[in-house]
Symmetry: C2
């Protein structure tokens, strides 16, 4: 089973203080690019896998979604998400994504932000997502980019990002917000081929880096153009 | 216009001595993986963009292709390709791939091995390929992997491959076989999104690295697992 690091007190405290936790989606630099991949949400049924504090769930409702289901493994995060809304069209459910079940054909959009790279096993989840979507449904997700997750000792060296282990998939343990955070490294090919084998069409991918305007506002983000930190994917059913 | 480095005498001499030039496809470590992406060639019409010495053209005929058209910009390579076959079902044509025209719907497979990363402009070529394929046709190609082409000064450092400039697309000048060889760096997203926008379905991608058996036979290839040297793509019309 996947590590539930978000219920580690040290990690949760650190995560809760991140700009994207405090200020929401607009503090996530990749959000404009991810948002551009979304279908029109008006009247749609949406599920967010790894919903955290529920920022996207609330966004989806503001964008006209008819219902939103937020799913997360972390009790801490769901508790805070529930505090932040009284909207009866938003429901939260605690679940381990590796054993998730969803009602067949019940959704128009499955969304997942920076969650899938924590999961040890994606095949069953991708099947669940595919059957949960109706015809024309979309599966839009972001993950840490495989160039970012590959190295055994990630970090900059002389303004470059030394990559090793790219083709060796499996766990990577890093000390990010807490010691011993486990992420699963997979190649881009593994993600896309699994999507295709599950029955999805690849509609678009983006290897995210900051725009010129973002770098002007945040010069410290410029290094992210040297190697993308995030991979954004849109799949169609 | 794209640099025609293959007609540079120094480059041509060096290229002609490579195992894949002397011994053909079986000396190319990625060939088994690329071959596995091909459709059945029996009775098919095939075109090879960047055919070089014609090894794939001859393979395609041996695999039952009805006709094979090999296209290359290099007179040197085409001259040698023509010397190596008298098969009337194999034709060779000199053309710049950036201004190529092909008969509409005339082909079942468009194949291209390690050629597209030399081209400055792919959009027109992808359109040409799409219209040249009949329904169900395939476009199978390999390129140098963007992780491989990104760095301004490519090379190993402490068993890692330092990546920079990944999101900065454009020419990269390297000294490989000759000085001043110009390749075009593009992201994986750019290749795949162009394919999708042209009208292709992404059927499969592979970020190639050596198998265990290949490493046992060629221990010096083991480093290629640290970062893939090649990207293989199969698109369907």
């Amino acid at each position: 089973m996947t590590q539930n690091i978000y219920d580690n007190p040290e990690f949760f405290t650190g995560y809760s203080a991140l700009p994207r936790s405090v200020q929401g989606l607009d503090a996530a630099p990749e959000w404009p690019a991810l948002r551009a991949m979304l279908p029109d949400l008006q009247g749609r049924h949406v599920v967010d896998l790894g919903c955290g504090f529920g920022w996207f769930c609330r966004f989806a409702r503001e964008a006209g979604a008819r219902s939103v289901l937020g799913i997360d493994v972390s009790e801490n995060m769901l508790a805070r998400a529930r505090e932040m809304t009284a909207d009866p069209a938003i429901a939260y459910r605690r679940a381990d994504l590796e054993t998730l079940t969803l009602t067949e054909g019940a959704f128009d959009l499955v969304y997942s932000s920076l969650t899938l790279h924590y999961l040890s096993n994606l095949a069953a989840l991708f099947d669940t997502i595919h059957q949960a979507l109706g015809p024309g449904g979309r599966f839009v997700f972001s993950i840490e980019h495989p160039i970012y997750t590959a190295p055994s000792a990630p970090g900059w060296a002389s303004n470059a990002w030394p990559v090793n282990g790219y083709l060796t998939e499996g766990p990577r343990t890093t000390d990010w917000l807490a010691k011993g955070v486990i992420k699963q490294h997979r190649t881009i090919a593994t993600y896309l081929n699994l999507l295709i084998l599950t029955g999805f069409s690849v509609l678009r991918i983006e290897e995210w880096g900051p725009t010129d305007a973002q770098i002007a506002a945040h010069p410290e983000w410029a290094c992210e153009r040297e190697r993308p930190p995030f991979l954004l994917v849109s799949g169609g059913r």
